[in-house]
């Protein structure tokens, strides 16, 4: 091992000592909108030299003195080639233009570079909005998270649910970042839609493993979503009118070529249809969501750029004045990019994220109270990228986050409330910090490694009250045996850990590559919810003296092969070991419980699987097929008699296919197909009676399954001719979700049969039955989109 490290360093120093090197650096932007292009490539054709731009469009390439032809390339854009004589450090800023004559042709040739097997990262999938927008979705609402669930290794938590599981992990193990800010609850309307407005999003990366050491805090995945920056050349707008919501985005320069803004809003109007619903409760109800994205960026100088972005979204649901619910996220990000010199790039970020849930009840003077809970994060991140030479790049930096957890406050409204004084559970506070360093090293054209280390520390901060619990037996109700009080701002508990991350890439031929990765991740907070849906009431709770941080180790191996016809294929296998996984004891009390830790049980989990992916990128027919064969298990003392049981996200088979066919220039048709093994479920194994009340006797946890889930969606997109002199470009999207009307079980209830008596009133027959609810069948939708 030591020898190998030495060799690495020797290789590294050889380049240092012997070459007289200069650096070309700069930014690559879109010529039409002025937005930074992420992942654009800068290549010296005929050599191994090449780099890609970072998230901020910045690149740096250090080469020996000489004459070069440099090629600048980006997916869907024209290539630009420049000849340079490199005898000093040089700045080259390049604007690449989208080729409009035939977008698809261009996409193909430019994509060729990105599609190269060597440029593909194991565990990572990039999604651009173009792909996302062509996939038919329920009610025509473009939803990036629904698209994410079609990727190999990602499993949807179910219909009408924005949650998803990555390689057998739970929903709270996904780190979802919107411009670096954590989004704690990604659901609108309890998960029927996600909070991300497709018009405001530029692109996203999905990491299923091999998470860069820069990121941490969640076990299973990183979904890195970036907002658009706004056009800094001219004023533009996009929007759409759909069945459930409408959206409008405006963007333009504040100072031409220097500063730009984008604002994007969306509101649902499902509530408009409520009076049509047959139920009386529905008629007097409020039910809607809205969200708002905004971003401003300002080029302070050639070396400094400032970004300010924010998201604000809210869901409201209420019934007359009797009760109201409201929840949502607020995030804000301020970023400053600075170039120290041609090789050293830095990014300073301040982040704020807030999720809160509010509930009010006002049914009588006595019964009037309001309830609030939530989480607030304030973070500072400092990230550096040092482009040492074409074969060596270093990333390093640190981050610190202050968490405030509000487990719940209940306050009386008015004087008549039965609640004489507010009940306030003490806020929990914690600091989560990390330092990291990473080295990307290219040995030669064939072999590349990337390795790094993240050191994370978690401190619980006072003031706090913590409890020590005792149990009659494992899984029984907790009893407090000791109470500890801690002073304000004192650190009373600390966890820390080293998180090594590494990946290697070896190109067998131009079209074949083998990749491998290992990573360890720590997670210091988790969501306390034991329903199959992530409810806004599910609070986030930090690790503390009772609960240790979750730890995961993952290894993955992948084989990538490209075919000349525009077919890209890959196979990845993984195995994951997870420690300190939490679950709740039977009949746990979670709501407004300041001793919620007593309700938790911990154990281990493991998951493994293989993922197959075929993507066709050329020709009139494009699309992908993804198949995942996987297993995800848990074993926890106190649950299921310590026998291993499948997790809620365990699916043996998961097959998704999406295809888009260009019929003419104006029309294209798309199709989705999804097949997944049914969700694990706990069914009854019998019944008994106590005090005349029927009680279900349940079989071991998750021992059975729902019937398999499958459905097909179809859609067409129509792009009418742009009117002469017309400024508005428009398009139509028509789709049908679940076209063959499969009754996929959403829930299976156990209950008793209701019947109507001779008097017309319904009564309970007491006959035990099971019934299934299927949600969406044959949902048609039409959306009109415009652009000016």
């Amino acid at each position: 091992m030591l020898k190998r490290i030495l060799t690495t360093f020797l290789l590294f120093f050889t380049t240092v000592i012997f070459a007289q090197n200069y650096t070309i650096s700069g930014r690559i932007t879109d010529s039409k909108t002025g937005e930074d292009l992420t992942g654009a490539t800068i290549i010296i054709p005929g050599t191994n030299y090449g780099v890609a731009t970072n998230t901020y469009g910045f690149y740096s390439l250090t080469l020996p003195k000489g004459n070069y032809k440099v090629s600048f390339r980006y997916v869907g854009y024209d290539n630009i080639e420049k000849s340079i004589t490199l005898n000093k450090n040089t700045t080259i800023n390049v604007e690449l233009g989208e080729k409009l004559s035939d977008i698809d042709e261009i996409t193909i040739s430019a994509k060729a570079e990105e599609a190269k097997v060597e440029n593909k990262q194991i565990n990572v999938i990039k999604l651009d909005m173009q792909t996302v927008k062509r996939i038919p979705v329920v009610f025509g609402e473009i939803d990036i998270l629904k698209t994410v669930t079609m990727l190999p290794g990602v499993i949807s938590a179910g219909e009408g649910n924005s949650g998803f599981s990555v390689r057998g992990g739970t929903q709270d193990q996904n780190l979802i970042l919107l411009d670096e800010a954590t989004v704690y609850n990604v659901s609108h309307l309890l998960g029927f839609f996600s909070v991300f407005n497709g018009d405001a999003i530029r692109d996203l990366d999905v990491y299923k493993g091999g998470i860069p050491p820069q990121y941490g805090g969640r076990l299973s995945s990183l979904i890195d979503i970036r907002m658009k920056e706004g056009n800094n050349k001219k004023f533009a707008g996009t929007g759409g009118i759909g069945l459930l919501s409408s959206r409008l985005t405006l963007e333009g320069p504040i100072v031409k070529n220097k500063a730009s803004f984008i604002v994007s809003g969306r509101r649902s109007y499902a509530d408009v249809f409520l009076p049509l619903a047959p139920q009386v409760e529905a008629k007097n109800s409020t039910l809607y969501f809205y969200d708002f994205n905004a971003k401003v960026n300002y080029k302070l100088s050639d070396k400094d750029k400032l970004f300010v972005s924010g998201y604000f979204g809210r869901d409201k649901f209420g019934f007359s004045n009797l009760f109201g619910n409201s929840w949502g996220n607020k995030t804000a990000t301020i970023r400053w990019n600075h170039l120290f010199n041609k090789k050293l790039f830095c990014n300073q970020t301040l982040i704020y994220s807030n999720f809160d849930y509010y509930f009010k009840i006002n049914i009588s003077d006595a019964n009037s109270l309001e309830f609030q809970q939530g989480i607030i994060d304030k973070s500072y991140k400092s990230d550096f990228a040092w482009f040492y030479n074409p074969n060596n790049k270093f990333n390093f930096g640190g981050a610190i986050t202050h968490h405030t957890f509000n487990p719940g406050e209940i306050r009386p409204i008015g004087d008549g409330s039965i609640l004489s004084a507010p009940i306030i559970l003490e806020k929990r506070k914690a600091l989560e910090s990390a330092l990291y360093a990473e080295h990307e090293h290219k040995f030669n054209a064939r072999f590349k490694i990337r390795y790094g280390l993240r050191y994370s520390i978690f401190n619980n901060l006072g003031s706090a009250k913590e409890y020590k619990f005792a149990y009659d037996s494992i899984g029984a109700a907790p009893q407090v045996v000791d109470t500890f009080s801690y002073k304000k701002n004192s650190i009373f508990n600390t966890y820390s850990g080293l998180e090594p991350r590494a990946s290697a890439n070896y190109n067998l031929t131009k079209n074949d590559a083998i990749k491998a990765s290992y990573n360890r991740t720590f997670q210091y907070l988790q969501q306390a919810g034991n329903t199959s849906f992530a409810l806004p009431t599910d609070q986030w709770i930090p690790a503390n003296i009772n609960i240790k941080p979750q730890i995961s180790d993952q290894v993955a191996l992948g084989f990538f092969k490209n075919f000349d016809l525009g077919l890209e294929t890959s196979v990845e296998v993984y195995y994951k070991w997870m420690k300190n996984q939490i679950d709740f004891r039977d009949n746990a009390v979670l709501f407004l419980n300041n001793q919620v830790y007593g309700e938790l049980l911990t154990g281990k989990g493991w998951s493994y699987g293989s993922e197959f992916f075929i993507k066709k990128t050329k020709g009139k027919l494009k699309g992908f097929i993804s198949y995942t064969l996987s297993k995800s298990m848990r074993q926890i003392k106190g649950i299921n008699q310590y026998n291993p049981y499948p997790t809620n996200t365990d699916r043996r088979h998961n097959l998704t296919a999406t295809a888009n066919y260009e019929i003419t220039k104006k029309w294209n048709a798309s199709l989705n197909f999804i097949f997944a093994t049914g969700n694990p479920i706990t069914y009854p194994q019998g019944r008994w009676q106590y005090d005349g009340k029927p009680i279900t006797w349940w079989a071991p946890r998750n021992a059975q399954r729902f019937p398999a889930y499958h459905r097909m969606d179809v859609g067409v997109n129509y792009y009418p001719n742009k009117r002469k002199n017309g400024k508005v470009e428009s398009s139509w999207n028509f789709s049908v979700y679940n076209v063959y009307g499969r009754k996929n079980p959403y829930v299976i209830n156990t209950g008793t049969r209701q019947a109507k008596g001779i008097d017309g009133k319904s009564y309970d027959t007491g006959i035990p039955i099971t019934e299934q609810i299927a949600l969406f069948r044959w949902i048609p939708s039409a959306t009109w989109n415009f652009k000016f």
Binding site: F273, V480, N587, F591, P684, W688, I767, T770
Partner: protein, 277 residues
């Protein structure tokens, strides 16, 4: 629990919205029905309610029939030295003391523990509980209240007590209106878990409107924390609707040993009678 219900409402609303496409069907599931297990429902108290034990077994899920066990050997013995053998009574379908008045000789005494033993098909099931002290009622009266939101105008019962020091006290109430039990379909339970101080002065308002001159009986029972948890679990299972907002199903653990289900409970009862005015 309340929040759960609210989310259920939201869920129903969403369902109403997608009503055109969603559908509800009765389905017959292929269930792995398990071999029957013994279920015991034992109750004793310091009061004139007879000692009674009901023994049944579990049945298949879709079956309406709850099989009754008639040939078990049942005894109840107390740390106060009492011991009773109970025999099956065809009329009541319960195990009762051999001589009915025994309970008058052996009512439960505060601080003593009682053990139920059931021998059936060669297996012994047992459970032990203690008779817990009561919380004396300071005063009890009805107040004539106007209509408040969902609550109609009427005479409402209020109870004033001083909570016993120490945590873990649990109470169960039964309420009767002109000899009709109002608390038949649910358990009126309370515990002191969320009370900040010990010995707090408490007002309990029972949310039933009585009429003028109604005869009211209030039974206040001191019960164990474990029994209170058991009843709460039964209650929440009864309101479990299988929506995604319900907690995962879990079996309700009682205090019967050896794989038996159900509960053997000891209640310390105070009974008060008054007339609504």
């Amino acid at each position: 629990m309340k929040l759960n219900r609210i989310f259920k409402n939201l869920f129903l609303l969403l369902l109403a919205l997608v009503a055109l496409s969603s559908c509800r069907d009765e389905v017959i599931l292929k269930l792995n029905n398990s071999a029957p297990a013994v279920v015991i429902e034992g109750n004793i108290s310091n009061d004139s309610v007879p000692f009674s034990v009901k023994i049944t077994t579990t049945s298949d899920y879709y079956s309406m029939n709850i099989p009754i066990v008639k040939d078990a050997f049942v005894t109840i013995s107390g740390s106060d030295g009492t011991k009773d053998t109970l025999v099956y009574d065809e009329g009541y379908k319960l195990y009762l003391p051999k001589q009915l008045p025994t309970y008058l000789i052996h009512p439960c005494k505060v601080g003593f523990s009682y053990t139920l033993n059931v021998i059936y098909k060669g297996k012994t099931y047992s459970a032990t509980e203690t008779c817990l002290p009561q919380n004396p009622i300071d005063s009890l009266k009805t107040l004539n209240m106007p209509k408040r939101g969902f609550f109609p105008a009427g005479y409402y019962l209020y109870e004033w007590t001083r909570e016993k020091p120490g945590k873990g006290d649990c109470y169960l109430w039964n309420l009767y209106q002109n000899d009709t039990m109002l608390t038949k379909d649910f358990y009126y339970l309370e515990d002191d878990q969320y009370l900040e101080e010990n010995g707090q002065y408490l007002t309990t308002d029972f949310q039933f409107p009585f009429h003028l001159n109604d005869k009211i009986i209030l039974e206040q029972m001191a019960i164990s924390r474990q029994f209170s948890n058991f009843l709460t679990a039964i209650q929440s299972q009864a309101s479990r609707d299988g929506s995604p907002f319900s907690a995962p199903p879990s079996n309700i653990a009682g205090n019967i040993s050896n794989g038996g289900m159900g509960y053997f409970a000891v209640r310390n009862i105070i009974r008060k009678r008054l007339v609504a005015k």
